[in-house]
Structure formats: structure tokens, C-alpha cells
Symmetry: C2
Subunit: 428 residues, 2 copies
């Protein structure tokens, strides 16, 4: 009964310390791996605290100044760091305390950008975010994508990608990768949409379709140079909350809605994806086990009480283009049917979240995506139910400020973070 | 909006690659850290594949033979590895292919042992497990601990610890740490029992009480030398399943029962503990939101339908000492009331697990602890409910072979693994 070899870390976002193949017997540390990880540490330190001097970076990460200088020089050569003279620092977004003249380091505003894209039920969007976290280009297209041929939708999306990419390249930026948010379950291959019931897509190789569209003009590099990741919009929304919102804890459950109810679990700062990438299906947690049948095969699932269509039905409203916007507008006007429907949805959310809080013990529940706009009317019954049922294990409920923009920003930032996490992998 | 520094890894079992303080800006790699991690890799490789030659270890972990030899010599000096001549290998548990004479390495059967202890509702137990995974000493004491003074219970447990420890030391072994399984919620300090309703303990510093009892004779070292960890029995049961059972996947939900219903989540080979260490409270997932009130403050919690006492009540049986044993005996005799009660419990388990499977997407659900003995009567309704409700996300349900011994073995093995994960931390 010897103990087996050390187990793998959670498979997750690319991280500077992720070592592929780290299941079974662990891989050895090498000098080369150590250099790559230290490059990431320097770049992260400047991204988080810049402008900073080389000496300050060295003391922050515990390496000698000489070692840091070698790493900094390499990052400057790769176009990831800049070391402008102090007279140029006025143009930098976060001026701070600076050492002697010429020694202030900042992450480059002209280097790589992360491209984020989103296929929504009712829109398409693409943006480019630089290493400093600034959105440098953005394009979108309104219109329902329900039931449309994936190839047509992807072709339209690719046109937006090319437009944003060209705009970024015109400003001297280089796309370092593309991440796509979709409203459905994505396989762990990060390419295939396994099921997106609200688009009526299943087993669709969206990654492959998009790759095939992208070598075209104007100036986007060949697809083999541009890593492409497809993921669920709730996952990217949660990552955006983790990375961009002030005060977000490292453990939370992010709940969002776009027709369906989606959730994403962040545990110790990492997404919990599940064995097949299907974790976070809060919408199909049974709320009333004998309740109405759900297309998923279950009965009384949360989505049957708190999904957009269920709420519209309960409020006797017709589904339109901006369903959440309509509900928020009517609720704001005091429409009794809408208010009652939202109270019922809040109660159902509270019951499903009681199960989730008991299972996961998160620091907080964050209402994100379009759901954040309905928070004022959902929260009273949601919190009454959740707090009443979890007396000994109370969990804060907060509302996202990123709202509907979260998934797109999370997608773009996931590419940016992959650059920060392994700068040596970026091609010049 | 610069991205913050890289996020921490899941806080978890001590692991050879865990770096305390790895939140915020990452720590640098150092030569010293690299050496410690490589010592762990060598020791893990021998534990998993021994007897093996130095050359075979080198090729398995990708280091040079010279580097491995230096590390092996250090591990032999620390008493963690042995290099018996081939004539002595017959006495080794897992003989395999061996290189040239004298070159076969095995983990030591005379070095450190992990001490595991358990406070159950109806018993106390302690065991010592060596680096090869063999139980070298064991002691237990039957009798209910419900409502007893924690000091009295801990004093009795300490006597068992001293007895097992003395027996191990008599065989030339050195206790390297002590891990204690308790039937309740344990704080992330891994000392304090926050709530153990079935012992009627709350906010009890069990770690402190046990430490205070242990410096006594006969020969256990001073407590500051003996790391002590207290954790929930469901967590240790899940870890035992992960480490000791053949074919256990890296992602599973382990469900156990001892009066209450406990669960533990293993994600990518690691325990998911939750913000406060309270994750896995499957027993308080709402099954029927308007159902009977639960002492937890909720209504219709799983425990109200599938907890031991609820099942005994539904079967019109009196609670006794070995409740699960009684239920299994009566069910085996075809007692209709018991069979009906177990069917109902299986249905409730299936509903609660539907929520868990939707949220977590595990590879499998494992019925462990005492619950494994009831599996034949729970599984039919449990699986019908779970599979019917998760048509697109089916999840296998398996039954633990470790059963009630899981938590104690998991506790002892957690100490053994801490030694394998950082052999340089072991005092000679």
C-alpha cells in the first residue's frame, strides 16, 4: 500500500507555475523553468505595482538586483516592459513613487494585447486589452443568434475580430491570443460547444470554425500563432470579477443569467471547471423536486423558477430582445406582476444557493452579468431564504459592477494574464 | 486596471510544491527550494515504484543519475530510504524489477510513521502507518462519546496515542506527526472543532487539549516536535479513498454518514475545504424546501430524510449503539419498514446529489464510511433519481471498500504524505 506519487494541481487557467504533465511522478525543476518563472514574477510585480524601480522589484520578489536586471533587460527586449525616463511618466496611468531618474519600469502599452470575443444570445462583441488592462479597441453587432447556423455567426464574429485586430495593430500592438465566451457548456478541449440550448447549438467545434475564418486579411497572423480558447461566459464573467473588481474575495460563487442561469465557482483564486468542464450548472439544481419538467431531463430545476423566460412567463410578459432590460424597467415602474415574479425568482435562487453554500462554503455569492441589473428586486427574498437556511454558515451576497461587460473583459484579460504568467512564451 | 499579481494555489494538504505565502506577488525560486522539491520527487518515485535502481529513478523524474545519487544519499542518511542488497529484497512488500546487485531502493520500513487518530460518535481509535503504507500498530476503545466532556474524551484518546506510539517506537519507528479525524466542522486552524452536533461539542480547541495531554510518558516526543492536524472525518475518509483505493478518480464527491451526512469534495486530486473549512455539508442541502425543520436552521435538509436517525425513525426502530449495523441487518432480513425507509433515504440522496453533480461535475460519487454498508438498499432509488435528473451529465456512483476504516487510515496517511512531500522537513 505504498502511497502513489504526488497528485496534480487543478487544471485551470494557464499559470506561471503550471507544469503540463504534473500528474503522476512530479517533473524536476530545471534552471530553464526557474528562469521562466522568475521572468513572470518580475512582470507581475511591475504590472501590480508599477511604475517601480529595478531595486524595488528586487526587494518585492526577493531576488538580487543583478538577477532582476538581467530579467528586466530580457523583458524590455521582448517588448513587455518599458523603462521611460521620469519626464515621460506623466503619460503613464498609475504614477507612483519612482527611484532615481530613468529607473522606473512600467508594463508596455505597445506590446501584446489580449483579444476577447463574445457570442451572446442577442449580440456579438470583440475587444482588445493591453498589458496595462486598457481596452484599446472594441466592436460589436446587435441581433439575435438563436437558432442561427454556427458557421454564419462565427463568420460575422471573425469579421469583428479582424476589425479590432487591425485597429490594435494600427496602434503598434500585437494580438497575443484570442479567448471566446459562449453561452453554453464547453468541453475541456476549450474548443467545442457541447451544448448551448439558447443558441440551439450542440457538439459544435466553434474553435475550429473560428480558426478557419481567421487567416484571412487584413493583417491577423496565421492561426497557429494565435492561441484560441473557448469557454463558458459565466466562467469568464467570474474571472473578470476576480481580476478586475476591487475587493473580490478568492473564494466566491458567481451567478449570471442570459436566458439560462449560469454560475462559476472560484476557489482560492482559481476556476473550478469540473471533470468535463460542466461545473457551475446552478440552473439545474433541484429547487422543488416535484416541480415542472425541465428540458435538461430534471424536474423543478432553478431555471424553471428564476430563468429569464420563467420570470417573463410568471410576469405575463412576451419575450423580446432585451428581456432583462424590460424586466428591470417594469420593476422600476412598480409593475406588480413583475415584482411578484422577481420575488419568486429570488426565493428560488435562495434555495438553490443554500445548497451551493453548504457544499462549497464560499466567501461570497456575486450576482453578475445581466442578473446584476435585477438585483434590487431579487435580493430581498433571495437573502431572506439563504440567510434563514444557513444560520451557522452565513455568506455575503454582492452585486457585480461589471455587469454584462464581464464575460468579454474576462475573455480578453485571460489572454493578458497568460502573457504575464509566462512571458517567455510570447513571440516577439 | 493593471492585473493583480498571480493568485494563490488552493490551500490544501501540505504538498511538495506548496509555497506558504504564495498569494500576492509570487515568491522566487531558490536553489534550496529546488533541492527540497527534488528530494520529494525522488522519495515519491521510490514510494510509487520501488524497489527501483538509482538509474531508474533518474530516468523517471528526468534528473541526471549523479544528481539523483546525491539526493538518494541524503534520503538514506535521513532514514527515509533503504538500499538493501538483492538478497534482502524478499522481505520487501512490492518486489519488482531490480537493477544490478545492491542498487535497489525502497522506502524505509523503520523510519517515520504517521499517527492517525479518530474520535467517533461511538468509538476512539489510533493507528500508526509507516512510509510503505503498512499499519504497524493500532488501538481502539468502544463506547459512546455523545455529550461527554471533551477533556475526558481527549484524555482517553491520548492514552491510546501513547500506547500506539510506544509500540511503534519499540519497533524502531519515529512518529512524524499526528492527524485526528472528528465528526464535525473544523476551523481552518486545523485545531478547533467549531461544531460537532453529534458529540454536542462546539468551539472546542481539541488540538490544544490533545497537545496538552501528550508530553506525558512513556516516550512520545514533546508536542512542539509533533505536528498535529485536526480535520473532519469525511475529509480524511475522502483522502483515504483517493490515496488507497484502486481506480479512484481525481475528481469525486465522497459521501459518508455517522448520524449526520457528511461529504468531501476532491477536485483534481485535492480536497476542496471552503473558506472556513465548512465545505461538503451535503446533509444541509435542501431536498424539499418546505420540509421538516432541521437543527441547522433550514427546512427539508437531506439529513431530515437520509440521516441515520431519520432513517431509524422512518423504520420505527430505536437508536442504539451500531445504528448502521442494525439497519443493514434488518434490511438483509427483508424488514419492510427498513427497506422502505432506505428507499426514501436513497431518493433524498439522489435529489441532493443532483444539485452537487450539477454544481461540481465530479467524475464519480463514492459512498463511503458506514454508508457503504447500506449501499445495496440505497443505490436503486439513489441512482434512479440522480440519473433521471442528470441525463446529459451522468455521473457514476461507486461504493468504498475502505468503509468505516477510511477516516482513520486517511488521517495516518496524511502524515505519511506530508513526509513524502517534504522529506527535508523531517527531523532525524
Amino acid at each position: 500500500m505504498s502511497a502513489p506519487a504526488h497528485q496534480a494541481r487543478p487544471g485551470n487557467m494557464p499559470a506561471h507555475d503550471a507544469r503540463p504533465g504534473d500528474s503522476g511522478t512530479p517533473l524536476p525543476d530545471t534552471q530553464q523553468g526557474m528562469r521562466r518563472r522568475n521572468l513572470a514574477r518580475v512582470l507581475h510585480a511591475v504590472a501590480a505595482h508599477g511604475p517601480v524601480s529595478r531595486a524595488s522589484v528586487a526587494s518585492r520578489i526577493g531576488l538580487t538586483r543583478a538577477a532582476v536586471s538581467t530579467l528586466v533587460d530580457e523583458l524590455i527586449r521582448s517588448g513587455l516592459l518599458e523603462e521611460p525616463g521620469p519626464e515621460r511618466l506623466d503619460g503613464v496611468r498609475r504614477p507612483g513613487k519612482v527611484g532615481r531618474p530613468g529607473s522606473a519600469l512600467v508594463v508596455s502599452g505597445r506590446g501584446p494585447v489580449g483579444l476577447g470575443a463574445e457570442i451572446g444570445v442577442d449580440h456579438l462583441a470583440v475587444c482588445a486589452v493591453d498589458l496595462r488592462g486598457e481596452v484599446r479597441a472594441r466592436a460589436e453587432r446587435q441581433g439575435s443568434n438563436r437558432g442561427r447556423d454556427p458557421r454564419t455567426v462565427v463568420r460575422e464574429l471573425a469579421a469583428l475580430v479582424r476589425r479590432v485586430s487591425a485597429e490594435a495593430e494600427g496602434a503598434g500592438l500585437r494580438p497575443a491570443g484570442l479567448a471566446l465566451a459562449v453561452p453554453g457548456l464547453v468541453g475541456r478541449d476549450t474548443r467545442t460547444v457541447v451544448r448551448a440550448p439558447n443558441l440551439d447549438w450542440h457538439d459544435t467545434d466553434v474553435g475550429g470554425l473560428l480558426t478557419a475564418e481567421l487567416p484571412a486579411p487584413p493583417r491577423l497572423r496565421a492561426p497557429e500563432d494565435l492561441p484560441l480558447t473557448v469557454d463558458n461566459e459565466a466562467n469568464f464573467g467570474a474571472l473578470a470579477e476576480l481580476w478586475l473588481a476591487e475587493g473580490t474575495p478568492q473564494d466566491f460563487l458567481h451567478v449570471s443569467a442570459e436566458i439560462g442561469i449560469g454560475a462559476a465557482l472560484v476557489v482560492d483564486g482559481r476556476l473550478l471547471r469540473g471533470t468535463r468542464g460542466f461545473a457551475g450548472e446552478l440552473g439545474h439544481v433541484p429547487v422543488r423536486p416535484g416541480g415542472p419538467p425541465c428540458p435538461c431531463g430534471g424536474r423543478g430545476c432553478l431555471e424553471q423558477y428564476a430563468g429569464e423566460e420563467a420570470v417573463l412567463r410568471a410576469a405575463a410578459l412576451e419575450p423580446g430582445a432585451d428581456r432583462v432590460g424590460l424586466l428591470a424597467e417594469r420593476a422600476g415602474q412598480g409593475d406588480r406582476d413583475v415584482l411578484r415574479a422577481l420575488r419568486g425568482a429570488g426565493t428560488a435562487l435562495g434555495i438553490a444557493l443554500t445548497g451551493a453554500v453548504n457544499l462549497l462554503d464560499p466567501r461570497a455569492v456575486v450576482l453578475g452579468g445581466a442578473l446584476s441589473e435585477l438585483a434590487p428586486w431579487l435580493l430581498p427574498t433571495l437573502e431572506r431564504e439563504l440567510n434563514g437556511r444557513t444560520a451557522h454558515r452565513a455568506c455575503a451576497v454582492t452585486v457585480s459592477r461589471l455587469g454584462r461587460e464581464g464575460p468579454l473583459l474576462g475573455a480578453a484579460h485571460s489572454v493578458v494574464r497568460a502573457v504575464l504568467d509566462d512571458p517567455a512564451a510570447v513571440k516577439g
